[in-house]
Amino acid sequence: MSLNQDEEAYIRLLRKLSVSHHYFSADDLRGLALTPQPQNPFHVISPANIQPETRFAFRQAFDQLLSKNQIRRAFLRRPLFELAEMARVARMIRDDAADRTEPLADLSKIAIAFSGFFQRRLSTLFLPPALECARRGPALFAGRLLKEGASLASLSADEWCTMPPSIFAAIADIAIFYVCTHGRIHQSQYQAALHDRYWQPSPLDFGANGPKVLVLDTCHGADRQPPFQNFWGIALQGTSVRLLLACEGPIVVDVPSTERGYAFADNIVRNDTSIADAWLLAVRSTSSTGTSRPVAIGLGDNVGDAQAMLSLTFHDLRSVGKRPPSLSSGSPVQFADRH
């Protein structure tokens, strides 16, 4: 007994409403399965806690599907009972998880570091200019998240941005570590400019209890030439970092563009936005030149694991049960990227 296109769409919408969003209970679905005619569920059930817009849109969708008269009630009965069971289990897991994964203050700690002024001995090439706006991205990012109840565990700036800048983040169980400074590729290795030296990240700089998300608001954070995998596969093996947010090539650090710090934080506090998408959108929506190329890179012990990191949300990071584990030190790092 196979379902036609409209019946599948009907079940898919119901699955979203019951299993994903818990608007309909298992009993609601069983009731729907027993009605004499296919029904628009919103005509017989009035779920609480649903936004008027969402209710309106879903109701319209069901009306549209039912108006085609292609939905056969007899065919729906079994899938609806199966869906009821799925909804029951999903709600049980949600209630159980809610008890155990209440967002914890410890898991919403962030750390920021920036360097805007550099000693001349830093480079034999043409000295990169001072980054007077380097503070803006991290500060705006932290300011927005502090409003949401996050706490700032570490702030390292200019002369006091010590080596490695991640040292506090590595021991403090940080959710997100945000760095803004100059970046370069040196002998195929990524390096970030601190006040008087370059920092080349290594596994020891992060450890297994460090930040889950590393934001490199610098040039060349994830270049394809040479492939970023070569460097980051070694630098982050066995560490806590599961999501790397950066830019290919140069990234503009001026007054309008550094609003990306605020934009990034603002995007991630929306529960339905993944941290990866939040970064990509933040850079694109604030770049004064339009030339910055943001990239989000998920890291994992296998490709599926890496891919899943691209869907990681801030809420996940704050929940014990959903927080991703550190990378295994025994297996090579796998990558999945989005740009």
Binding site: A9, R12, L13, K16, E53, F56, A57, F58, Q60, A61, Q64, S123, L125, F126, L127, P128, P129, H182, R184, I185, H186, Q187, C219, H220, G249, P250, I251, V252, V253, D254, V255, P256, S257, E259, Y262, A263, D266, D277, L280, L281, R284, S285, T286, S287, S288, T289, G290, T291, R293, R338, H339
Partner: protein, 233 residues
């Protein structure tokens, strides 16, 4: 372009171009229910960003089932925001990107900066669109004159004293529009200079960076100083 060539470009610009006017932007409008309903007809949930008043549209997985791809509706919505503005085609910024961008033009000048564009982010099951296109007041405010090219040139190079011959500059003249995160009251003719090192280093050690210098291109007695500043933050 070498930094000394920028001076020539500035003189050529002010001698060949008509003096572009300034435009006042309509103050933030409250979001009306009928506007929300109009977008829902296309499956789009809409809101206006505070304090910029720019339009944000969202299409969820559900609405994909019902409406399919709404790109033409998004472009139409942008046209309604500022009907006298030209909207360029919606294209990906580079191959494989999940974004689509459409820049805009006012008369012969591009709209530059973080705003003045449609930005669409698409995933497999959802779509967001930021329409950062502010509506202008109907009447243009004539500019009184160009900022002296030498003044602009000196301000450009002030951060690179002694290194003027080691930078490349990409100049643009356009109307500068801010991001959706800010209120803006004027659209002013503006120079945007993108500055990069002339020597990008070797394959062994690349030190490419990029910065900008953003200054007004015209002056106008009718525009108060504080409003000028608001344009650039």
């Amino acid at each position: 372009m070498r930094s000394d060539e920028v001076r020539e470009w500035l003189f050529r610009t002010v001698s060949e171009r008509e003096l572009p006017p300034v435009f006042a932007i309509e103050r933030h409008r409250a979001f009306e229910e009928k506007e929300r309903a109009r977008f829902l007809d296309f499956g789009l949930r809409s809101s206006r960003r505070n304090p910029s008043g720019t339009l944000e549209l969202r299409l969820s997985e559900l609405e994909f089932v019902r409406f399919g791809d709404p790109l033409s509706s998004i472009v139409a919505a942008a046209r309604q925001e500022d009907p006298r503005r030209e909207i360029l085609p919606l294209i990906p910024p580079h191959e494989g990107s999940q974004f689509l961008v459409a820049r805009t033009r006012i008369g012969s000048l591009p709209v530059i900066g973080p705003g003045g564009k449609i930005l669409v982010q698409r995933s497999d099951t959802s779509l967001t669109a930021d329409i950062t296109v502010r509506r202008r007041e109907p009447d243009a405010i004539p500019s009184d004159g160009w900022i002296e090219p030498d003044v602009v040139h000196r301000s450009l190079l002030s951060g690179f004293l002694g290194a003027e011959d080691r930078i490349d500059v990409e100049p643009t003249l356009g109307y500068f529009e801010r991001s959706k995160y800010h209120a803006q009251y004027l659209l002013r003719p503006t120079y945007l200079f993108v500055i990069r090192p002339r020597d990008e280093g070797t394959a062994e050690s690349r030190s490419l960076w990029e910065t900008t210098h953003i200054v007004p291109a015209t002056w106008n007695l009718a525009v108060e100083l504080n409003e000028e500043r608001e344009t650039f933050g």
